[in-house]
Symmetry: C2
Subunit: 388 residues, 2 copies
């Protein structure tokens, strides 16, 4: 019997997690659910999964939820308090963290300090807060199980091997919908084009990040913290077919790779059932007739990748600035305010203006995040003025 | 400190094993060497590696060796006795078994009964004797470490996972030098053509087996016993590039693959240093720009593969007959006595004539091996008469 709390339960990973748990049968039970503001959707989940706790960030949404599920024996909480309660829920054996953005950080810290095991899909927590977690001795590979397909692949390839046995990691990247296009072509792409990913179905923010390759950049930083590797050990490799989800090269030259169809339910299930594996009805990869290709990333036309390496190299508050300015720029692009190639321009400009704080605490990191969004907003406004 | 005995030390795997041990440095020491009849070569190895024991099968060769290395503090033994002494040498922690053919079986049994850990390159022992080892409870995955590149790949992909978690194995095959040729074209190939393998440098016997795909058939049977799998779980897949050395599909659909250049020193070293990995100066696989392709095997033009599945399905003494008739046919082909396509014809004919003994002991298996060679010899003589 494994009791599970899901934070971010109304998002793409969250809903898939609930489907996986349902399909796994009665050995797996949902004991806590937490989301941002979608009270109707969370209410439906509460009725279906009968958790002991349901939490929404928004106070009004939580009040509506409380009213909506009063027939259920379910505690309803709100605010950060509710999220922290879900992250540390006493009966939960595993905390699935699939929130979007740095809002996942405080619940992650609380869960880790509480000794919980976490299935982590919220990469921003590690991108922004990895250095803090490391300093506090909270980065334990046995406690943070990755849900991202690439990191799940690395984790599976590592098995019980120590990071000291790793020579390098090949983090595979599909290249997104625009791979191979020139800068001139990229200037003209629309949000609709960018949301049409060739292999993966994901939320909007991550799909745009995939098109700019910032997603891969964030994953590089995530991998560095998750697996205790040096930045130079992590190589991004273009693999258009999205079948190999990443590879580990050991110090003796042996490479292990993990393969499967581009389908998030597999890494989600593995993080839930770990250390066991369970049968399922997911599509399987049939290698017969398959062709797998590898290529070097185009760093010139996809500068977000290099910006991420640069932020990781600088460290301190810089990864928070990378992430915050990226979130602001992506949001502006999705609203049609700026062009696709303005995304890296905005991030780079904000990073250049930033005065890095070394060994930051949570407050400095949150401050840098807010500052970077404000700065990005100013640059976006300027860009919009230039166009009009 | 790891003390190593090498049986078959003058062959292709044996000599590479010694080079690997030398390169690993003083933590690894050769304590026993055994070979068939090449006394000059073994004498040179004795002078270089200073083992406590050196053994040759041939009595006269052993006498010459004794004379040749009398300046060394090295016991020299002969006959099966010498091989068994090497396989159970008291100071040896690891026994590398790289003999050719079923002569490796009795030393393997002796070593296993002695509680030794074995690095096994001698696949015939498992093909012919797997059923006996299974019945005697001697097939322990922790005691028999594979050296064959495909089986080393599977072993690395399995890590500490139980076979019960495995859905299937994809055993990769280069297809050898003739893959894609028609039956008519295959009838005309010479031993020289067959010995020219596109990817691997190996001994003559295994290179011909690779060209007929019997090598892959023998590996299927080897994998079945090594990893305690059902025959139907083992799929042969053509992979012309010989970079992926095999893949494991788990019950949840996740596939792990092991990659590396086609180079035996890597699996040899891993079996020696296991559970550790050690740095080396071997060529590494560089995936950038790489293309990996998979295809179904051509079972029609390469019938040896199906013959091996059939022998494994029948069990009892049939795998011994498969192996024995194959050895006789390959030897005749290498001597120019028969054509390439006569190899599967001979094996199939001998298998059809065989009366299977179920639950055989060593005597029955050795008897079936001898009988199959005699029968193959008769068919070879007949074929030669027809041509002349």
């Amino acid at each position: 019997m494994k009791n599970i709390a899901v934070l971010g339960s109304t998002g793409s990973i969250g809903t898939q997690t609930l489907e996986v748990v349902k399909a796994l049968g009665p050995e797996y039970k949902i004991v806590a659910l937490a989301a941002g503001s979608r009270d109707d959707m969370l209410a439906a989940q509460v009725r279906r999964f009968k958790p002991e706790l349901a939490a929404l960030v928004g106070k009004e949404a939580a009040a509506r939820l409380r009213e909506n599920v009063k027939a259920e024996k379910c505690i309803v909480q709100s605010g950060l308090e509710g999220q922290l309660a879900a992250a540390t829920w006493p009966t939960a054996d595993l905390i699935v963290m699939s929130q979007v953005g740095f809002s996942g950080f405080e619940p992650l810290v609380a869960a880790l300090k509480n000794g919980k095991t976490i299935a982590l899909a919220n990469k921003e927590s590690l991108v922004i807060g990895g250095e803090i977690l490391m300093r506090e001795g909270l980065l334990d590979r046995n406690k943070i199980l990755p849900v991202d397909s690439e990191h799940s692949a690395i984790w599976q390839c590592l098995g019980s091997s120590s990071s000291a046995n790793v020579s390098k990691i090949y983090l595979t990247a599909s290249g997104g919908p625009f791979y191979g296009r020139t800068k001139e072509e990229l200037e003209k792409v629309s949000p609709g084009d960018a949301l049409d990913h060739p292999n993966w179905e994901m939320g909007n923010k991550i799909t745009i990040d995939s098109a700019t390759m910032m997603n891969k950049g964030l994953e590089v930083i995530e991998a560095m913290w998750l697996f205790n590797l040096r930045l130079e050990q992590i190589k991004v490799i273009i693999h258009r077919q999205s079948i190999i989800h990443s590879m580990v090269e050991y110090i003796d030259g042996s490479i292990l790779a993990q393969l499967g169809p581009p389908y998030m339910k597999l890494p989600i299930q593995y993080a839930i059932t770990y250390p066991e594996r369970k049968k399922n009805n997911f599509n399987k990869y049939n290698p017969f007739g398959g062709v797998l290709e590898f290529d070097r990333p185009d760093r010139l036309n996809f500068p977000c990748l290099e910006l991420a390496y640069s932020a990781a190299r600088t460290g301190g508050t810089m990864p928070a600035v990378l992430n915050g300015s990226n979130e602001a720029a992506v949001s502006a692009f999705l609203k049609g305010k700026i062009g696709f190639t303005s995304i890296p321009y905005i991030i780079e400009t904000v990073m250049q203006k930033h005065t890095v704080v070394s060994d930051p605490g949570v407050e400095e990191v949150v401050g840098a995040d807010r500052w970077s969004r404000l700065m990005a907003g100013e640059i976006i406004d300027e860009l919009m003025k230039r166009v009009n």
